[in-house]
């Protein structure tokens, strides 16, 4: 039975390949040969043949060359003076695929979290994982879209459905319109990926880091599925995912940050992704070059911004202004580094703008040869379709362009675009040029001047000083002319365009008929004049440089480490020496020595007299410099903050100006078990990976209380848990699973003979918990009230793991003895309370009590604003509870270093430790103190001496760009109102960055609005 079905399928499949059996009418089969003679043929970017011939047969190229024998039945077309190019190939298209629309009111009831995939069938558990999607199966010809693309020179595209994290396979299509089955050239050309979950109505993942984690898990799942016989169930997604691995993999990025992230992920699984660029590669071109991969570049350069009103223009950020200037130079920057690349029209909202944008890129330095390669041979080579499209070689598809001149010249026109041997006329030049000066016999005139485009001519009739501009329209070779002369009525004329002559008849205002002629005496005078004027373009002014990072106060060059001798400062050592006036010598990024009268050697000497020198502040609880804060599964231990570091966050610089040098970037508090921390140094200008402290200890965020139970949500949430009772069970359940998982692996690893055994499935969520059980990963737990704190300590005791730090821990003072007994650290706010029910018993004396109990105690920020003055927050422990000043200072330096297990490197001014230092104008605990220099690893990242200069440079650079923009507007370039960003709210631990900082409490509401938006 099954065989018969298969046969049937084959039969019907074949039927489509052949001509329709019951043709309506007589057969009209043509010989199918076309010979194009005497053209300049660009076989590929490196091979240009002058006066050459191109022979095609039906849909294929038969031969390219000169003076060869050709079949007599060929239709011969003379292309003297014309150029032939391979038509362009866009390998990042969604042409012909269904429009992506969010189902209205999708998701479970729209309002609540949705835990299951809504895709029916034996597919992946997550709706954003769709390797089984085959574009070849859903594609249909879209005549309107095909026409748009043909007009800008494209003949074929590689198209995929741009939805989901794993998007399935693409298809090579031509832009012909005959039949779907003819347009489809090759299925399964490439396999596609992104960090965007798209239209999936499943809530997980909401965050960028969740998307990374899900994809990572999918690689493990598919690998395990492939290797494991006796699967309990079939999964078509897993099968497709494994099968897709043999194809070129293309990954969508929206910025250089994404590109670096993609490369990092690829290395984990041995995949070299082709990267669809976000168009800002120039910002970190050396790092992009090091990825050593192919880029697909977009041309969606930003529009000029309207900056006329000085008050409103204050809202325009330097980074946006500079991107406007430098984005068109991105392709040139990529080419200059020798990076292999293609160009896509994908991000252009108006395809017709393609050549304008391409010209902008060429003006900004992209060579015409590189441009042609990026549109033809490069994309076809990288996706292994060079035997089909991309050049004009024998056997390839007859996809080519005929142009009137070099295609990248400013006024070049595509005349015809041939797709699979079928002609599409793009610009009809059979409309002859008629511009020029004529002698005419039209009654009352002797001179006719024609200007304008051939299709839309403008006329002027003259006799001595009398001039009339008639209304005129042209339909191929006919002109219709009407005019009114003086006080007379309207005269009407018909003209027939001939060779250098127009003949016609007319009826004057009185109804009298007449004949007329116009004879050309001077061709195209006006047009020639305009051309020479256009040629006198000024050389482009020098552009501004790149900044690291690419925002206000970024560095023109990365700051370098230097040897420094800070003399005679009051040094807060945080060691038994206490606070004393002495010298500190910094060498090779480390504190070399501390003592009086140190010899400077080659070190730069900084006079610290009257000033205070301390360690840099360490913020134990921070959410700056991140693209993601929260994932929203109750157990989200698989997500990693290290995957989503934003090196361009202005808060890095702001906090350097507050003396902060190190921050633990924590997952938020939406989940009982949150993600894995990143511990970074605030090295302003370095790329994300370089911010992470090498070999930093592994940490993870846990959370308790109102945030995890969504206590402040306006409706009852549908995510477990919603009570503190449930919170306990989430932990017990997760660790019970982790213990079983750990045993499973131990049994497998212990087995001497592994044949016949299958390795257990890697589970990234449980891996992190096993690391905790093994003491390799340390817990920082968001906590408020004593009941829950006590609970987690008991759960940890009973299941055999340790809690490293309770963060926030506002009722820690009630349990200090229990914490002390377990050597748990406390990291708290100085004086926050009353903002919700669970903090109504918070007291500012908390830190002092914990500290006096012998608990390692820190003051943290959890707030980008407060982090800028953590020194003042530390000082409050003197005010509330009476810590000594040295004890107070340690709450933001040595103590957090200890709880981050970095006190062997950080936290005190001691020979051998990292030179992370701050020179203060005053006692660092005083409100009157400000940092004068903030130093990390011996590099000065914030300097009061150059602060004003930096601000002046910022204003000057903005002014330079604004002057250019104003000049653009003066020239008539359309400008757009800059996007006015709302002032960024303070980001706290309950925010979801991807949804513009919506708080987890409002997630349900947000999802409802999102689903109702239909977007």
């Amino acid at each position: 039975m099954r065989k018969i079905l298969l046969l049937l399928l084959l039969l019907t499949g074949q039927a489509a390949v052949f001509a329709q059996p019951n043709q309506n009418g007589v057969q009209d089969k043509r010989p199918g040969y076309f010979l194009f003679k005497n053209a300049t043929i660009h076989v590929d970017p490196g091979t240009v043949l002058e006066d050459a011939w191109l022979l095609i047969k039906e849909d294929k190229i038969e031969k390219v060359g000169k003076n060869f024998d050709y079949p007599k039945s060929a239709r011969v077309i003379d292309l003297q003076g014309r150029h032939i190019y391979p038509s362009f190939v866009d390998i990042y298209s969604d042409y012909g695929l269904p429009e992506l629309k969010r189902p209205m009111g999708g998701g479970r009831g729209g309002a609540a979290m949705s835990f299951e995939s809504e895709k029916k069938g034996a597919y992946a558990y997550n709706q954003a994982i769709k390797p089984e999607v085959k574009a070849a199966e859903v594609f249909v010809i879209n005549p309107k879209a095909a026409d748009e693309l043909r007009k800008i020179g494209f003949g074929s595209v590689v198209s995929h459905l741009k939805d989901g994290i794993v998007r399935g396979n693409s298809v090579l299509l031509t832009l012909g319109e005959e039949k779907d089955s003819k347009s489809l050239i090759k299925a399964d050309v490439s396999s596609h990926y992104s960090f965007l979950k798209g239209l999936s109505t499943q809530t997980y993942p909401v965050s960028l880091m969740g998307c990374v984690a899900l994809l990572r898990q999918t690689y493990y799942d598919a690998d395990w599925y492939k290797k494991t016989k006796d699967q309990p169930e079939r999964n078509l997604s897993m099968e497709a995912f494994a099968a897709n691995q043999s194809l070129p993999s293309v990954f969508q990025s929206s910025s250089f940050h994404d590109a670096l992230r993609i490369d990092k992920l690829g290395k984990e699984f041995g995949v070299k992704y082709i990267i669809k660029s976000g168009g800002d590669d120039y910002k970190r071109i050396d790092e992009i070059k090091a990825l050593n991969t192919h880029l697909i570049l977009p041309l969606n350069f930003p529009k000029a911004l309207d900056v006329e009103d000085p008050i409103d223009a204050e809202n325009v950020a330097l980074g946006d202004l500079k991107h406007w200037e430098l984005a068109p130079a991105n392709p040139a920057a990529v080419a200059a580094k020798g990076i292999d690349f293609s160009i896509t029209t994908a991000d252009l909202p108006l395809k017709a703008a393609f050549f304008t944008q391409l010209q902008a890129a060429i003006k900004a330095g992209l060579s015409k040869k590189d441009a042609l390669a990026a549109l033809t041979v490069n994309p076809s080579r990288i996706l292994k379709i060079e035997d089909k499209v991309g050049t004009l070689k024998t056997g390839l598809l007859a996809n080519f362009l005929i142009t009137d001149k070099d295609i990248f010249e400013e006024k070049a026109k595509i005349l015809e675009n041939w797709v699979q041997g079928a002609k599409f006329v793009i610009n009809d030049v059979s409309t002859s040029a008629i511009a020029g000066k004529y002698n005419t016999t039209i009654p009352g005139f002797n001179r006719l001047t024609v200007s304008g485009e051939p299709e839309k001519p403008a006329l002027e009739l003259a006799m001595d000083t009398v001039k009339v501009k008639p209304t005129v329209s042209r339909d191929k070779n006919f002109l219709t002319i009407t005019y009114r002369k003086g006080n007379e009525g309207v005269s009407r004329l018909t003209g027939l365009i001939g060779e250098k002559k127009i003949t016609g008849q007319g009826v004057d205002a009185k109804g009298q008929a007449f004949n007329w002629t116009a004879t050309l005496i001077e061709e195209n005078a006006a047009a020639a004049k305009a051309d020479s004027a256009g040629a006198r373009t000024r050389p482009a002014p020098a552009k501004g440089g790149v900044l690291y990072p690419f925002v206000a106060f970024g560095n023109k060059e990365l700051p370098r480490s230097e040897d420094l001798l800070i003399k005679n400062a009051t040094v807060w050592t945080n060691e038994k020496e206490g606070t004393l006036v002495t010298d500190v010598l910094v060498k090779n990024g480390k504190i070399h020595s501390v003592g009086k009268n140190l010899a400077a050697g080659n070190a730069r000497v900084i006079d610290g007299t009257g000033k205070h020198l301390t360690n840099g502040i360490i913020d134990e609880h921070s959410h700056i410099a991140l693209f993601s804060i929260n994932e929203v599964e109750s157990v989200s231990s698989e997500v990693r903050q290290e995957d989503v570091i934003n090196s361009e966050d202005i808060n890095i610089y702001r906090q350097l100006a507050g003396g902060v040098t190190t921050s633990q970037l924590l997952h938020g508090s939406a989940d009982c078990i949150g993600g894995q921390s990143a511990i970074v140094k605030l090295k302003w200008g370095e790329s994300p990976e370089k911010l992470i402290i090498p070999n930093s200890p592994k940490f993870i965020k846990f959370a308790l209380g109102e945030n995890v139970k969504r206590g402040n949500s306006s409706t009852t949430p549908n995510r477990y848990p919603i009570t503190r009772m449930g919170v306990e069970q989430v932990f017990v359940d997760a660790f019970t699973r982790a213990i079983a998982y750990k045993k499973e692996w131990e049994t497998y690893n212990k087995a001497k003979i592994k044949t016949g055994l299958t390795a257990p499935k890697r589970d990234l969520e449980l891996d992190a918990l096993v690391e905790i059980l093994n003491g390799e990963r340390h817990i920082t737990c968001h906590s408020y009230v004593q009941s829950e704190i006590n609970m987690l300590m008991k759960v940890a005791d009973s299941l055999g793991f340790k809690i490293n730090t309770f963060t926030h821990i506002l009722e820690g003072y009630k349990l200090a003895d229990k914490m002390k007994a377990r050597s748990i650290n406390g990291s708290t706010f100085s004086d926050w309370w009353a903002y919700k029910m669970e903090v109504k018993e918070a007291i500012p004396f908390n830190a002092a009590i914990l500290n006096k109990m012998g608990i390692t105690t820190a003051i943290n920020s959890d707030d980008a604003e407060m982090a800028r003055r953590l020194n003042q927050e530390a000082a409050k422990t003197v005010l509330y509870g009476g810590l000594t000043e040295e004890e107070a200072w340690k709450t933001v330096t040595l103590n957090p270093a200890k709880m981050l297990k970095l006190d062997d490197r950080l936290g005190s001014v001691k020979s051998g430790k990292d030179a992370d230092l701050v020179l203060w104008t005053d006692n660092p605990l005083s409100i009157y103190a400000k940092p004068e220099k903030t130093i990390i690893d011996g590099t000065v990242y914030f300097d009061l001496d150059t602060k004003d200069q930096k601000e002046k440079e910022l204003r000057d650079e903005k002014n330079r760009l604004i002057q250019i923009l104003l000049a653009e507007k003066g020239k008539g370039t359309p400008t757009e109102r800059p996007v006015m960003r709302q002032r960024q709210e303070h980001i706290h631990c309950d925010h979801i960055m991807e949804y513009d900082g919506v708080s987890v409490e409002n997630l349900d509401l947000f999802l409802r609005i999102l689903n109702a938006s239909g977007k």
Binding site: D817, D831, R983
Partner: protein, 431 residues
């Protein structure tokens, strides 16, 4: 039996723990504080001065010891201590909110866009447990302020001590709060998943509604119409100049439009609450003699490109331009105990310590229209002041030891101190 124990327990612990301390009583006899470092709030400082208070008022402040002049006064030696005027906290919801996330405890945002008739006066809860924690840092006066809508309602100014609102109020219904409409309003862009500011289509409509409201109020009054429209009547004080109009606006252009509106409709005492940075807005304030209560220094700069210390510098910048500048801390009512430090933060960024102190004492008093009673330590004003161990603007030294309101000593105990003491005792720790 069990019930009895519980009620007994409540009785005992109730008096000891669960309530705020009772309000203070003014001494019947004159009291002289001498050997004090007195900061008067108007820029004058006496390193070893003295101050006599009597019947709730300041009788005399002197650079020298007044002991000989007032032999009958009770003498208090405050050697080594500082005396400051009680600090004034404008634009706060303290007393109108208890737990920020708990709606049943919130009483500052009434339903509807136009609420000139509602009064914070009657919702102010003297028994709020947050109040003692704020006055413990020297903040003795608060402007209980409604928020929300276009016209939020009327504020009242309270002393942070008293048995009930009637008793604690310093100036009832001192002003009306207007949120000037936004020319641009945020809308969510689902393509970029960010909020962007789009032109507010209702801007002109809202401005017209406001204009109409003020015009109708004038008309109603002129007509002597017996029909009493609560909303229109509520504007009388603003138009007569008895009350102030506090304007919160989003951008400098809005501030300018709001001030022009005030001129047009005849508002006598407009006050801008927020931040302005442009020369045009500053000049508009100056020319129209409009004071500004500046947003807290503890906030991030408005824009990525702004000077990282913009907020710290703004009070000095505006004062330098010749504006009358006050300061508030409205981030959260429970954080207003940091108001002295918010002022202190300006000192490393352009103001002198005396100017920084003036922001939250004499300037705030003048701007709120209560300077005849409070804001400085001068003869004839209320004996409302604090005594501290050191510089009140710097948390290193800011410990407040005593506080007086209209001559009555305030009990500085609070719930947080009691909780701390309980656990200091439990663990046997020294304070």
């Amino acid at each position: 039996m069990k019930k009895l124990i519980i009620s007994l327990f409540c009785l005992l612990s109730g008096t000891a723990f669960a309530q705020n301390p009772g309000a203070g009583k003014a001494s019947a006899e004159p009291v002289l504080f001498y050997n004090a470092h007195i900061f008067t709030g108007n820029g004058t400082e006496h390193a070893a001065g003295s101050m006599l208070i009597e019947k709730g008022l300041i009788k005399e402040v002197s650079a020298s010891d007044l002991s000989a002049k007032y032999p009958n006064a009770k003498k208090v030696n405050v050697e080594g201590r500082h005396i400051y005027p009680g600090i004034i906290s404008p634009a706060s919801t303290l007393g109108l909110a208890e737990i920020e996330s708990s709606r049943p405890t919130l009483d500052y945002n009434e339903l509807g866009d136009y609420n000139p008739n509602v009064r914070a006066l009657v919702a102010y809860n003297t028994d709020s447990e947050v109040i003692p924690t704020v006055r413990g840092n020297g903040v003795l006066i608060t402007q209980a302020t409604p928020s929300g809508g276009v016209i939020s309602g009327r504020s009242s100014i309270f002393y942070l001590d008293g048995w009930n609102w009637e008793d604690a109020v310093l100036k009832p219904d001192d002003g009306l709060w207007l949120n000037w409409p936004r020319r641009m309003s945020p809308s969510f862009n689902f393509q970029t998943m960010t909020r962007e500011l789009q032109k507010n289509e209702h801007y002109q409509k809202t401005v017209d509604e406001l204009r109409e409201l003020f015009a109708q109020s004038v008309a109603q009054k002129a007509g002597g119409d017996p029909y009493d429209n609560l909303k229109l009547t509520a504007l009388n004080g603003i138009l007569s100049g008895d009350q102030r109009l506090f304007i919160q606006a989003g951008t400098d252009k809005e501030v300018i439009e709001a001030i022009n509106f005030c001129k047009e409709v005849g508002v006598k005492h407009p006050v801008v609450v927020g931040a302005v940075t442009s020369e045009l807005a500053i000049q508009t304030l100056k020319e129209n003699n409009v004071p500004i209560i500046v947003s807290p220094t503890h906030r991030l700069p408005d824009r990525v490109d702004s000077d990282v210390w913009e907020a710290y510098k703004l009070p000095a910048y505006l004062a330098g331009k010749g504006l009358t500048v006050g300061l508030h801390y409205n981030d959260s009512y429970w954080r207003t105990r940091n108001l002295p430090f918010v002022a202190g933060n300006t000192v490393a960024h352009g103001l002198t310590k005396a100017q920084a102190l003036a922001l939250i004492t004499s300037s705030n008093a003048k701007i709120l229209g209560i300077d005849q009673w409070v804001g400085t330590l001068e003869a004839g004003k209320h004996a409302t002041f604090i005594i501290s161990e050191g510089d009140i603007l710097d948390m290193r030294t800011a410990k407040v030891t005593r506080a007086f309101i209209r001559g009555a000593e305030v009990n500085l105990d609070d719930k947080q101190k009691r909780l701390a003491n309980k656990y200091f005792e439990k663990y046997g720790l020294s304070k």
